[in-house]
Symmetry: C2
Subunit: 420 residues, 2 copies
């Protein structure tokens, strides 16, 4: 009888105790354990920053961040034998309740997609710089994350260390985004800059870029615009709230750009840049593609040289905002990953949002052939080489126009879109 | 007896009910009521964006944002008589439990400081574009906000619509910030651009700026560098975690810049810009000031023209990151304010952080006289005018050097720091 009489008081005491414990836990500096999947350039950079900028990270997150495990393949026996931080057992990481955040820095889709998906399903926040993964499976992974009230973050997937994703999501979110133009690939921008400044051919600058380690031995993903396409797809998906799949987006690279075009462009007041482009048109559909473009000297993108990247976001309220910096490299990219880790910690109690939803791309994308722009054309007739910039016209009309040109006996060397 | 026996069950049922109600409330689209204090340029812009970009805001915040009240002074009888949204009764706003977020857009310190402080003490998040308020009372207001687990946000206080504060706090937070250089005042940048491009005198461009409404009839705050000083103090406080007070920071404006200096700078490969500067020196103290500087054409700040603003943040991992856009104006500034409102809503459950603490500035600031840089000097001897750029030296040594020059019979016209 006495016990039951005291029950309400007992409850109150228990509630006070629980509150006390949880408040107290929060005011102390806890450790947040993370795991890194893959120990290449970015993964090792993340480890370095977590170790070296420890104080700064603690100040920003209020927690001590510790790399508990690093996943590498079984073939990395030297790493695996020398430190028990390294493991080739992903399942052990997945089932370790102490590990709250997974950094996926393996690249590619296999096994990254499977590992990330299962991490989210198992209650872990995920951070990744993997643009291919986000561009291909972003809608699905964001949905799983939101369903489990977890973070899925990927600031480093576009523009390396430049803040782009977070500003678009949280600083420009009162704006309707009219247009995005980006120099999104450092390798091709380095090559074009060298072609512009030193009047070299595509083939020679590719060789230089490969010697300097800026371009891979198979440079396809860079020079054909595929890397930039993944990135513009991520930016357009954020801006317009629907997943835009790379396979549905037209991409041209810089392989056909000649030093003559670079020179003529200069004389006309332009530089040639590989541009990732997205725009909401008047029909409410989106035009998006990657092509080399003539960019006027008056456009701030024209001064983005070497391996630098930049994104020009045009909001209906802010006007044009430019975000510029090093688009790649170990430390810039890793620092963006670590900022995302801090973001996971700081926003652990916030309701998670799906930045974009899955979509049938057919209903929301305009045909590339219908995009309107002025065009640069270089042609030859009777041994005289000439170049000009056309009026604004649709891509398909311009293609017809050049076909007629050729029928009339002109030899057409180059056709390049002009950024309007 | 039976009642007591059922008490534990009763408690469980109550807890389930409360959980159900709160979860349910979250899954519905609630309305978040805000109040705007002041209906000038920014305040009216905020109202416009909340009304016009309603869908976009709902998508970003998951809530419907509504302007419930707008505070104006009693003298605005037309506004007050025509709509019951307007009120001259601040206390009614303060005591309205439905109003969760206050947008302070009155400017100045009185009564903004009092109103903001009491709003935070009364459980309301506060958003403000008021740089003077943040630079003067930021540490105190951040502390009150954190104590009450509220947001105090001020993205629009620096660089208008350009995302700067949020990227520094949440995207570059894995970095130790080495240096910040900013073109932070649109009015003076417009004037300098006109001086550079049209070779006009300071007096004539001031008149043009006043005619265009870019400069006020009393232009002191702009042309003497006081506005830029408030802004660099905010950025330096964020970067280094300690409140840096404007009164302790050296500020020079552009009133002494002549068209001759602009011309000579051009010939040397520089443009003259009013720069807000902050750097962590090797002695772990901070050098910060506002002065006109010669900026090399190779520095991306050199292309920031007209009323545009830009901030170059140099992180130890990211390297130099440039954030560029319209630094002022109704819609850009108001859009940054609305983004902060969305930020308050999205992060309502996150633990609030004090971005910087109060500080005794004496212990953390270096003396301006000890700052080292190269200097541009223009002087005359025997009717021949000359100019040169010195080696890197301390400000005080350069001042001694020019005094010696004058003793030797040289007439010194101009002395301008060079951005190194």
């Amino acid at each position: 009888m006495k016990f039951f009489k005291n029950l309400p008081i007992l409850f109150l005491v228990m509630i006070c105790f629980i509150s006390f414990v949880s408040v107290n836990a929060e005011s102390q500096k806890e450790t947040v354990n993370i795991a890194i999947l893959g120990y290449g350039t970015v993964g090792s950079g993340v480890k370095e920053i977590v170790d070296n900028n420890f104080e700064r990270i603690e100040k920003s997150s209020g927690k001590q961040v510790k790399v508990k495990k690093i996943f590498v393949r079984g073939s990395h026996t030297e790493l695996l034998n020398n430190s028990n931080v390294f493991t080739s057992d992903f399942e052990a990481i997945l089932n370790d309740p102490e590990i709250k955040i997974i950094v996926e820095s393996m690249g590619g889709l296999d096994p990254a997609y499977d590992y990330v998906k299962r991490s989210l399903e198992n209650g872990k926040d995920v951070v990744t710089p993997n643009k291919e993964l986000v561009a291909t499976h972003g809608a699905e992974l964001l949905k799983i994350a939101a369903y489990n009230n977890l973070s899925f973050r990927f600031e480093a997937s576009v523009g390396g260390g430049i803040p782009i994703i977070e500003p678009m999501i949280s600083s420009l979110n009162a704006n309707n985004i009219k247009q995005i133009c980006g120099i999104l690939n450092g390798t091709t921008n380095f090559m074009l800059t060298k072609m512009i400044n030193e009047n070299l051919s595509f083939e020679s600058v590719l060789k230089i870029a490969q010697e300097l380690g800026y371009a891979e031995s198979d440079p396809t993903a860079d020079v054909e615009g595929l890397d930039a396409r993944n990135k513009i797809c991520i930016l357009a998906s954020i801006a317009y709230g629907k997943h835009i799949y790379p396979k549905n987006v037209h991409a041209e690279g810089i392989t056909k750009i000649s030093s003559e075009d670079v020179e003529h462009a200069k004389n006309l007041g332009y530089v040639i840049k590989l541009i990732g482009y997205a725009k909401k048109e008047e029909n409410d559909k989106i035009s998006t593609f990657v092509v080399p473009m003539l960019v006027s000297y008056s456009n701030p993108l024209s001064i983005v040289n070497d391996v630098f990247n930049a994104v020009l976001v045009d909001g209906d309220c802010t006007g044009a905002v430019l975000l510029y910096g090093k688009g790649a490299g170990k430390m810039p990219t890793a620092s963006a990953v670590v900022s995302d880790v801090i973001g996971c910690i700081n926003n652990s109690k916030a309701l998670k949002k799906v930045y974009w939803e899955d979509s049938n791309n057919k209903d929301i994308l305009n045909d590339f052939e219908d995009f309107e722009a002025p065009f640069y054309i270089r042609f030859q007739k009777d041994n005289t080489e000439e170049f000009l910039i056309t009026e604004k016209m649709k891509v398909k009309d311009f293609n017809e126009y050049t076909q007629t040109f050729e029928k009339l006996g002109f030899r057409v060397f180059s056709k390049i879109m002009v950024l309007d």
